[in-house]
């Protein structure tokens, strides 16, 4: 899922300090699971902002809505009738949701309430780590199911650098060396000899490098 982190409230205040009517818009998907932008976080932010403004001597109307998703037309349509009543909308969805909201409500001020971090997994409660960089051409078949693009600080495709030490990466002693993990797994699979196959120079045109991407499936289009 998409992992996000709450923005500091000071930053959000900086965006909306001049507003009289605000909507805090949450999202029920990824950001709810990583506790950055679900219904609960919407409640906390709205309550804190209301009190902030009151302490400044202003009573700002702040409403709370949490949509099923902010990356789909049908759910974003749910606020069609109310969207223009606000001076601004703070979206606690990931960057996708914030942008889709801004596209849909073209003349409405929209601000992000979270920092969108990466595609990752919940390792344990309160701890999320990156797994995928969405490069568009998956190589996991060659690397024992562990991605060196997402998990090696130098995204090396052909083995660990000289800084791999006791299974850890040189840039941070808490970070696993992706190539140590790959080697361990190849060993467990009895396929260590696969390591010696040279991985070719990668086609990054399906990655960010190729410009904004799209997937079109004519077979399911209506």
């Amino acid at each position: 899922m998409i992992i996000a982190e709450k923005k500091p409230i000071e930053e959000i205040i900086g965006y909306i300090d001049d507003c009289e009517k605000l909507l805090i818009l949450g999202c029920n998907e990824c950001v709810t699971v990583c506790e950055a932008g679900g219904k609960k976080e919407v409640g906390v932010l709205a309550s804190a902002l209301r009190m902030y403004f009151l302490n400044q001597g202003r009573e700002v109307k702040i409403d709370e809505i949490t949509l099923e998703r902010q990356c789909d037309h049908e759910y974003l349509e749910e606020i069609r009738d109310v969207a223009d009543q606000y001076d601004a909308i703070v979206s606690l969805a990931c960057g996708v949701g914030v942008q889709f909201l801004a596209e849909k409500y073209h003349s409405q001020r929209v601000y992000p309430g979270v920092n969108t971090c990466f595609l990752g997994a919940t390792e344990e409660r309160g701890r999320w780590t990156e797994r995928c960089q969405a490069c568009g051409t998956c190589i996991l078949a060659y690397t024992g199911g562990i991605c060196p693009i997402a998990r090696c600080a130098k995204r090396l495709l052909n083995g660990p650098c000289g800084g791999s030490s006791n299974g850890k990466c040189e840039i941070n002693p808490e970070l696993d060396c992706a190539w140590q993990l790959i080697i361990d797994r190849l060993k467990a699979l009895g396929r260590l000899e696969d390591y010696e196959k040279l991985l070719e120079i990668k086609d990054w045109s399906t990655d960010r490098a190729g410009g904004p991407r799209k997937v079109v499936r004519e077979d399911i289009q209506i």
């Binding site: 906390v44 309550s47 009190m51 009151l54 302490n55 001597g57």
Partner: protein, 116 residues
């Protein structure tokens, strides 16, 4: 034990201090509470093992937030005591009452009136 404690305290029962979330604390302030006290079991005595530790983390987070928005984190306090500890409860309640008297009312109440 017929112990006295300030009548300014309104007790809200929760099954465990771990049930107390930041939003509950904020809502209390938003509704006009001048202070919030979270009473938990002693460290290591939680029936659910870690409820009181969770409560402590949330209280700390809420204190920071209250500081940022100008309400003041010192209006929120957490105390740990045993389930039958009447005297410390009365003592802490009095302490909190005094502290809040010193701090004065929740600032939003004044502004709420002004705004209205």
């Amino acid at each position: 034990m017929r112990l006295n404690y300030p009548t300014s305290l309104r007790i809200i029962r929760v099954p465990c201090s771990g049930k107390v979330d930041i939003i509950h604390i904020l809502r209390a302030f938003e509704k006009g509470a001048d202070g919030v006290c979270v009473f938990s079991c002693m460290d290591g005595d939680c029936h659910f093992k870690t409820g009181n530790f969770r409560a402590r983390k949330r209280v700390e987070q809420a204190q920071k937030l209250l500081d940022t928005i100008g309400t003041g984190g010192e209006r929120l306090k957490m105390y740990s005591l045993g389930s039958g500890d009447g005297p410390p409860f009365a003592k802490y309640a009095t302490e909190m009452h005094e502290k809040i008297k010193e701090l004065g009312p929740n600032p939003i109440k004044k502004h709420k009136k002004n705004a209205a």
